[in-house]
């Protein structure tokens, strides 16, 4: 479908990208999949795909989280620290409550509530108190990291077996992570059709205009941060399943990757334009770049550099292509 699109004139492509902003990202994704397949045919197997998704599901969730604040022109640099906080909280609660099935579910629910609360705090601080999002969420990230360190001072407490065997296991022959992906896809499809998404984009497009047309701008921005907190909590549940242990600093490095994934997905950081689908693809692009750098046989000390360079180039290409098509 994407091939047919590139053959039409630029006007048509432009229209298509306006309607599906994640199209350039999708093309990059397909290219990366093809390259991965060429260099390591086994990487396209069902088994490898399952591995890729269970490793990067957390980043996918966090990128969705970041998207909801970027929609309205904000940013959340505390997203990673919310992941850490929820991760250690869930681990400690599951250990305290015995680690059986019921305690796992209860701990996950509490984790989601903690994520919501963190998002609400961010929303009140940024939109309510009208502070600058970058610096204010950096300040709250220090606060959340402190909280996470209070809950679990050092990394290492293991998750109960019931938790990670479920996350890494299968139901009716299908890996659990695929059910998780399907559930999130349905949730996102519903959210995409909600009026709130349009309102967030309207606020991001022109805050003053949105305000003058009667939208409760502050409330909408706060809701964006609450969504962000919720999805960051889901990311934490995924990472807990993947690493099977608690680490008060586990999410720190993920924040900037989530921002990169949002941009890779074709959303504008200035707000007003973007899709969550794009961010999901963006997170997968980061995962596939990391895999590809490994598969082409890059010497280990060069891997980080090549990954960084490839992500920078992908970011630039994505921005240039979507701008060229929109112009």
């Amino acid at each position: 479908m994407s091939n047919a699109a590139t053959q039409t004139n630029t006007g048509g492509l432009g229209r298509l990208i306006r309607r599906y902003p994640f199209l350039p990202a999708l093309i990059i994704l397909v290219l990366l999949l093809a390259l991965n397949g060429i260099f390591e045919p086994r990487s396209l197997s069902f088994r490898s795909m399952t591995g890729l998704i269970s490793t990067y599901l957390a980043l996918m969730m966090l990128s969705v989280a970041q998207t909801y604040v970027v929609f309205s022109g904000d940013i959340d640099l505390s997203a990673g620290s919310i992941v850490s906080l929820v991760n250690v909280s869930v681990i400690v609660l599951m250990q305290k409550w015995g680690g059986d099935g019921f305690s796992v579910i209860a701990a996950c629910l509490v984790g989601a509530l903690i994520g919501l609360a963190c998002g609400l705090i961010n929303g009140i601080v940024v939109a309510g108190l009208r502070l600058q999002a970058i610096v204010a969420t950096f300040a709250t990230s220090i606060f959340f990291t402190g909280l996470a360190l209070t809950v679990l001072p050092v990394a290492g407490t293991p998750a109960p077996e019931a938790y990670w065997t479920t996350y890494g296991g299968r139901f009716l022959g299908i890996p659990f992570v695929f059910y998780a992906v399907a559930a999130v896809a349905i949730l996102l499809a519903i959210l995409m059709r909600m009026r709130l998404t349009t309102q967030m984009l309207a606020v991001g497009d022109d805050q003053q205009a949105a305000f003058q047309s009667g939208l409760p701008v502050t409330a909408i921005r706060i809701k964006g941060y609450v969504f962000c907190g919720l999805f960051a909590a889901l990311a934490a549940l995924c990472i807990t399943g993947d690493t099977a242990s608690g680490d008060p600093l586990v999410g720190g490095k993920m924040t900037l990757y989530s921002v990169a994934a949002v941009v890779l997905g074709g959303s504008a950081l200035a707000g007003g334009f973007g899709t969550v689908t794009g961010s999901l693809i963006g997170a997968l692009i980061i995962g596939l770049i990391n895999a590809l750098v490994f598969f082409v046989g890059t010497p280990s000390e060069w891997q980080n550099f090549v990954q960084g360079l490839a992500i920078l180039l992908a970011l630039m290409t994505g921005i240039l292509v979507s701008r060229g098509a929109r112009a």
């Binding site: 940013i75 640099l77 601080v125 108190l129 009208r130 502070l131 600058q132 970058i134 610096v135 204010a136 950096f138 300040a139 709250t140 990230s141 220090i142 606060f143 959340f144 990291t145 402190g146 909280l147 996470a148 360190l149 209070t150 001072p153 805050q207 003053q208 305000f211 003058q212 701008v217 502050t218 900037l256 921002v259 990169a260 941009v263 950081l269 200035a270 000390e301 060069w302 891997q303 980080n304 550099f305 090549v306 990954q307 960084g308 360079l309 992500i311 920078l312 970011l315 630039m316 921005i319 240039l320 701008r323």
Partner: protein, 329 residues
Amino acid sequence: MSTDALPSKSGGNAALAFAKKPLVVALILIVLLLAVGEWLSPGFASPGQVLRLLIVAALLGIVAAGQNLVILGGREGIDLSVGGIVSLAAILAGNVMNGADSGILPAILVCIVVGGLFGLINGVGVTLLRIPPLVMTLGMLGVLQGLLVVIRNGIPSGRAAPGLSDFVVKPFLLGLPGIIWLWLLIGLAMAFLLRRTVFGYRVYAIGSNEQAAFMAGVPVKTIRVALFMLSGVFAAIAGMCLLGYSGSSFANVGEQYMLPSIIAVVLGGTPLSGGKGGYTGTMAGAVLLVLLQSILTTVHIDEAGRQMVFGATLVALMLFYGRAKAMRG
């Protein structure tokens, strides 16, 4: 330039307007925090301690100088790559001088060239390719972090020359170490650059209204590239000084400067939207930030509690500065 950079002359509000100036707020807070520190642990505000604080603040302040310039230039100007450049410069300087005073000058040259080069790439990406600064410098940060791994694997990490360490820690003139004098010099140079040169006025012009500045014949792109290059150079200088401070460099030593350099700028009264503010406030902001961290280390609470108090205090401090205007119909 915006009008609220000047104190308002309207009657009795003049005093209030003066007290609301970011620099004044920061200075008052600094004195207050020093008093609180002295009260919590006697000897906190002793000359020796204050000097040690100022050295740490100078390291942050030098990074923040470049950050300040990029932010002043507007169009969501920000430089997230400074953390990577600080680390890179610290490693490169260590390897070039490797404990020998004769290597200091070559190290300075290498650092300035490398910092300027990465700044140049950032600037070109932001202006010619019109990549948003946050994205460009974020991507560059990833590249720099990868480069650090490569360098660290190839060569054993070097040590600071004694001359460099003395410059940062030992008294040099009037009891103050060289790095404090360097920082003051940078402060003066920045004030001169921003307030007394065509370049400075052009920075404010493109920061407050890029379109108007362009129409008036300001070479917008050249100036913005220069700002990013300066940011890279300042970060590299700070990286070198950091090496002198700690003796040898360790992994990602510069990361601790990335976001704090932005906070110092904001606490100093330069809003992230650019076009107004200046470096004097940023210097006060850097001192304020380091002072706050230092007080929290003297108080006997654990690392976790310290971070929570630090984060909450930062939010409280920001309430004094540049809150966005409430929406009005």
